[in-house]
């Protein structure tokens, strides 16, 4: 990952242990983050989260994603168990180049997509060159 001109600079609070304060075990959702000329886009897999249970917070330049997952499997015993069911949580530090007021997000089919537009002043501009 290139360190220079990275708008999502570091991750803070990446959950490695269950957080007792909120109860239950958290899973770190998988994310893709890409940057275009105008914005940074974060796509996050949160399977099993209902649209109304997605919580997105931006505070002190930290973007935190939380997805509440209601228990849905109650078997006495699994024949095959390859994943656990539980809440998702992850947070990211957001660089000041992002215009916090314009952050938007949508959630569809278990995928959360967050758009983080850059401030006007950091967007690349095309400068017209006049011929002499």
């Amino acid at each position: 990952m290139p360190e220079s001109n990275t708008l999502v600079k570091k991750e803070s609070g990446e959950v490695t242990k269950p957080e007792a304060t909120r109860g239950g075990i958290y899973y770190t959702p998988r994310v893709d983050i890409y940057e275009s000329a105008d914005e940074v886009v974060l796509q996050c897999d949160m399977p099993g989260v209902k649209p109304q249970d997605v919580e997105l917070c931006f505070e002190k330049r930290e973007l935190s994603l939380h997805g509440k997952v209601e228990p849905r499997q109650v078997p006495a015993e699994y024949l095959d168990e390859e994943y656990g069911v539980g809440d998702f949580h992850r947070s990211f530090a957001i660089a000041p180049e992002i215009d916090a007021d314009k952050i938007s997000a949508e959630y569809r089919d278990g995928v959360l997509e967050v758009h983080l537009p850059k401030q006007e002043r950091v967007k690349p501009k095309r400068i017209a060159v006049h011929g002499g």
Binding site: Y27, D32, L79
Partner: protein, 154 residues
């Protein structure tokens, strides 16, 4: 064998350490540089998609995490010899000319086949995909269901 062999007192130990390093590198490739402090990934699965399977008296359920997919992206088949097959493609929805900061999600075609523990009625299979969770409910064939035997107390 020559008498003048090189004296290598730690030869075996070095061999073993080499093996350990190779193993460690393999683990690093598998788990990244976090080692044992790895966050609890939603699915550190060997295969894609991760699947849970369970049963009760009447049904066998299979559930898979498939965020971003539609039911039309999937092909689900249950054969007469009780094999469940999940087939599909997960397309990436991102423009081409971008700079990537993180790529943790998997994309591409997948196919997984499971041998079900009991005989199911291939005509009675229901599939539902909601919020990225695929649930397949398969009715057990009558012969596979446990029978309740009424015991009369004398």
């Amino acid at each position: 064998m020559s008498i003048l062999t090189r004296w290598e007192p730690f030869y075996e130990l070095r061999q073993e350490m080499g093996q350990r390093r190779r193993f460690q590198r393999a683990m690093d490739r598998l788990f990244g540089r976090w080692g044992i402090d790895l966050p609890q990934w939603s699915a550190l699965a060997v295969s894609y998609p991760p699947v849970n399977v369970w049963e009760n008296d009447d049904f066998v359920w299979a559930e898979a995490e498939l965020p971003g997919l539609k039911l039309s992206d999937l092909e689900i088949t249950v054969t007469a010899d009780n094999q469940l097959t999940l087939k599909g493609t997960r397309q990436q929805a991102a423009p081409e000319k971008v700079e990537w900061h993180r790529q943790e999600r998997s994309f591409g075609s997948f196919e997984r086949t499971f041998q079900l523990p009991v005989s199911v009625d291939a005509g009675k299979v229901e599939a539902r995909l909601e919020n990225g969770i695929l649930t397949i409910k398969m009715a057990k064939s009558p012969a596979a269901k446990p029978r309740r035997i009424h015991v009369k107390a004398e």
